[in-house]
Structure formats: C-alpha cells, structure tokens
C-alpha cells in the first residue's frame, strides 16, 4: 500500500476533483482501493473512498470545527492500493493541488470578512 502524509496540507477543491477523477480512472496506475482524508480551503475535512469493484467514490464531511485561521492539525493522509502506481506523479499532482501560505491566508481572510 502506498501512503502519502498530507498533514497540514490544504487543497484546492477544483484541483482535488480533477486529481481524484484521474486517480480513480487509472491515470497513475491500476487502483484497487483509494482512501483520503483531505483538508479543503473552506477549513473542513473530507473523507474520500474509492473501491474498484464498486466503481464509485464516496465522500463524507468530517464533523469537527472548521479551521479558518492557519493550517488544520487534524490527520490528513492518502492511501492507495493497486498495481504499477506512479508515486512520483501522484506526489507531484497532489503538490500542485495544495495552497501556498499566501493563497490560504487570502481565502481565510475573505471567509472571515464574509462571515
């Protein structure tokens, strides 16, 4: 099983959507199962799960307080089991989905201003 630690990584939802579609469609190798705990820019955590035999993804929102200042310290991880997995490409793509500090601060300031 391949495991990528995403602690304190905050992801752009539109980018994660693309990555997850590519991942579960076989762009980075043949996937049997993939599970992710992801932090998104709205401060919430989300659980993603894909099982190849069922050919569908399920998503749940993690019910805890949204992190609207700084980076969340809830666990965040991606686990994948499958064949011929391209770890380098997966890591590079996840990195491209992640928000830099200045972008995260901008979004959080907008969220707080609108709340």
């Amino acid at each position: 099983m391949l495991q990528i630690d995403l602690f304190q990584t905050v992801l752009d939802p539109a980018s994660l959507d693309i990555f997850w579609m590519e991942l579960t469609s076989g762009a980075y190798g043949e996937i049997d199962r993939a599970e992710g705990l992801f932090n998104l820019v709205n401060g919430q955590g989300y659980g993603f799960q894909f099982i190849a035999t069922e050919q569908k993804s399920e998503y749940i929102e993690i019910e805890d307080e949204a992190c609207l200042v700084g980076r969340p310290d809830r666990p965040s991880v991606l686990q994948i089991s499958g064949q011929d997995l391209d770890l380098d490409s997966i890591e590079a793509t996840i990195a491209a989905c992640a928000l830099a500090d200045n972008i995260l601060e901008y979004h959080q300031s907008q969220t707080l201003a609108n709340s």
């Binding site: 539109a14 980018s15 590519e22 793509t93 491209a96 989905c97 928000l99």
Partner: protein, 271 residues
C-alpha cells in the same frame, strides 16, 4: 462552395494530418483555421509549418497570443491550481520549443477574418480568450454575432463542436441620460444568425480522442460536424518522449483536454 473549418490543433501533428486527409476526401473548396496551433501538444513547429505551407487562412488563438505576448491570466484560463500549474508547464515547454519563425508567424495572425457573410474568430469577436459556450445566454450570443456584421460566426476555443441557430429577434434599447430623462425606445431587428463551433482537432474533450472539425456548405447553409479517428497513440508517445507531463498523454487518450477550463458560460473574459 464547401468550406472546411478547423480549430484548436494544439501541436498535435498526427491529428492535423488525419483531418487534412479527411478534408480532401470531403472535397472541400477552401479551408479556414480558427487558431490555437500550439500549446500542450508535442509538435508546435510542424503544425505551424503545415498550416503555413498550405496557406490556410488562420486567425490567432489564445495560445498563439500567449506564446507571442506571454501569459496574462484571467480567471477563465485557470479555474484550478492544478490547471494553472499544468498550463504554465505547457507554456514554458512550448516557449522553449518553438522556432523564431514559428513565433513570428503566430504574431502576424489576424484576430478575425471575413468571407462574404461569414466571420471567423477563435474565442469570440471581442477576445481570443472568451468562451462562447453552447449555453451562453441568447442575448450575449446574438450580440456577439451582430457585432461582426456577419450572419454566421465560426468560433472554436471550447473544444466542443456545436451549431447554434439564433432565430430572428429584436432588441429594444432605452437609454437614460445624465439629467435622468429617458430617451425613446429604439428597436434593433436581427435576421436569423448562427454560431458554429468547430470543436478541436488536437485536444478534444468529448470523451474520445478523435479530432473534430466542420464542413459548411455556403449554398445550402448545411453544417456537417466531422469526427476523425487518427493514431493518437503516436501523439501520446511523442508527449512523453519530448518531456511533456505524462498526464497530458493519458488525458488525450481519454478524450479529455490536457487541462480543464472554466465552465461558467456567463463569464466575460477580462483580458
């Protein structure tokens, strides 16, 4: 007269070759190209050379402009961080790859072309970067066609071919002057207009890797959307061989654009 109109080749030489062969078979009298000759694909110079050697009238696409002028992003270019990273990688690669004569050719392309009552643009008459999505509001669509003075507007950029017929309509306008007096209502009448999107030769997004373009018969006003199979695996191999991101090859094989773009049909490009 039978016109072939193609768009968005994006450095995919194999796809262009297959489309040109199909155009021969369809016995088209003239070919027009709506730009985006380069970007994402592995053969930008060969594509430009082919278009230039065949003397195909071509307008400048958004990628052609970006390679000449440099990137100048509006939010419609990069609706996601991932799309932005991939777009910039592709731009950097293409910028290093192209010859100076290729760049010069792209820089001299016009933004619009006219042929009788037909107008040819890449995105919209206002901007190479603006998307005329099939579901854009009828008012906006009609205004864009009317702004050209033509009856039929050919565009590309969305990578999805479509024909949209705008029934004859009228537009009522009333202006309020600075002293708050309302001017008399003025009516503009428009006969039937059409927007014809040629799809994409080299970077389709219809779920299959096949190239698309259109044939338009000026005598019958009949439009035929053509979908052409080609050896896309050759292009995929070239993408990897030339050092472009492997994911571009995977997405091309699935009939997905190399990088996604905004879906909001109401968005007006701010470049």
């Amino acid at each position: 007269m039978k016109l072939a109109v193609l768009s968005c080749i994006h450095g995919n030489y194999e796809a262009l070759n297959a489309v040109l062969s199909d155009i021969d078979e369809q016995k088209a009298d003239r070919i027009f190209c709506l730009g985006d000759l380069v970007g994402y694909g592995p053969h930008p110079n060969a594509v430009v050379e082919m278009i230039r050697s065949l003397d195909i009238p071509t307008v400048q696409g958004c990628w052609d402009e970006d390679i000449v002028e440099g990137l100048n992003a509006c939010e419609c270019s990069y609706p996601s961080l991932l799309g932005e990273v991939r777009g910039k990688l592709a731009h950097e690669w293409t910028d290093k790859e192209i010859y100076s004569e290729t760049r010069e050719f792209l820089s001299n392309l016009p933004l619009t072309m006219r042929h009788d009552n037909l107008c040819f643009v890449h995105g919209s008459p206002y901007n190479q970067h603006e998307y005329l999505m099939p579901e854009v509001a009828a008012f906006t669509a009609l205004e864009r066609v009317m702004s050209t003075g033509a009856d039929v507007l050919f565009c590309g950029h969305t990578h999805i071919p479509y024909v949209r017929t705008l029934d004859s309509g009228s537009l009522n306008v009333s202006l309020k002057s600075s002293d708050n007096k309302t001017q008399p209502l003025k009516e503009f009448r428009s006969p039937l207009k059409q927007i014809i999107n040629a799809g994409s030769v080299g970077e389709p997004r219809h779920g299959r890797p096949n190239a698309t373009y259109v044939i338009y018969d000026t005598d019958t006003q009949l439009t035929t959307l053509r979908e052409v199979e080609y050896d896309y695996k050759k292009t995929c191999a070239a993408i990897v061989d030339k050092g472009l991101p492997k994911i571009f090859a995977w997405r091309l094989a699935q009939g997905l654009e190399y990088a996604e773009r905004a879906e909001d049909p109401s968005h007006i490009c701010e470049r």
